[in-house]
Symmetry: C2
Subunit: 137 residues, 2 copies
């Protein structure tokens, strides 16, 4: 996959699979709604519940992976990097959307609403039974 | 989800998302073809290439996760446990299928064909915006 195909795959999926490492050193995988904002293939912004297990894991160990997958075409893109948990006013407002009060009834300052910002260090793309690394900047 | 619903989800998906931890301590996620055989929710058998990055990772660090996801219904099942890389004749034959020569031209003893056996220690199911643990035995 060239860079354009990688970005198209990333943007085409409603779901991203988020990898973390838990307190006992085991990998964890969870489907989350796709990032709301991305800057190139470097920085990705997601929302989640402050009280969630993933937030606790990333506070303890920021190492993370985002995996985007087109199952029908056997294409995959993995980004490896670090995840920050952000609760400041500017970050909250940056990716807040109107309908979010359905999930966070107290609005943009709901203490259970927080922002995850992922910064990719390395990328790897899979297609045609073959993987190759790509630059994330 | 009750146990029957969990098993139905596991059996309904063509793909499983496999979590591993690489040599630098980062989580890795990769889509693989669903396990060919499972024994309850405890033991799962998959095939892969002996030369693959996943095999190298599991030889170094056997901690693993299998994640089954129904994206449309927002259901997820994560199993956490350990992954063994098996190359013995009995394991190879146990899950070999006729068409596999397409991927492993040398047949069931092709050195690039190997078996992954996952043993689950803990399970966690996600539905209705809520997660709960379940027993894997």
């Amino acid at each position: 996959m060239n860079r354009e195909e990688i970005e198209r795959l990333v943007d085409s999926q409603p779901t991203v699979f988020v990898g973390s490492v838990d307190g006992e050193g085991f990998p964890n995988v969870k489907a989350m709604l796709a990032p709301r904002v991305r800057e190139g293939l470097r920085t990705f912004w997601l929302t989640t519940n402050t009280s969630s297990m993933r937030v606790a894991q990333f506070r303890r160990n920021p190492r993370a992976a985002l995996y985007f997958c087109d199952e029908e075409r056997f294409l995959g893109v993995q980004l490896r990097g670090t995840m920050e948990v952000l609760e400041d006013a500017a970050s909250r407002r940056f990716i807040w959307r109107e309908g979010d009060t359905e999930y966070y009834p107290l609005g943009v300052d709901d203490p259970d609403y927080c922002v995850l910002r992922f910064t990719a260090e390395t990328g790897r793309a899979y297609s045609d039974y073959h993987s190759e690394n790509f630059e994330t900047e």
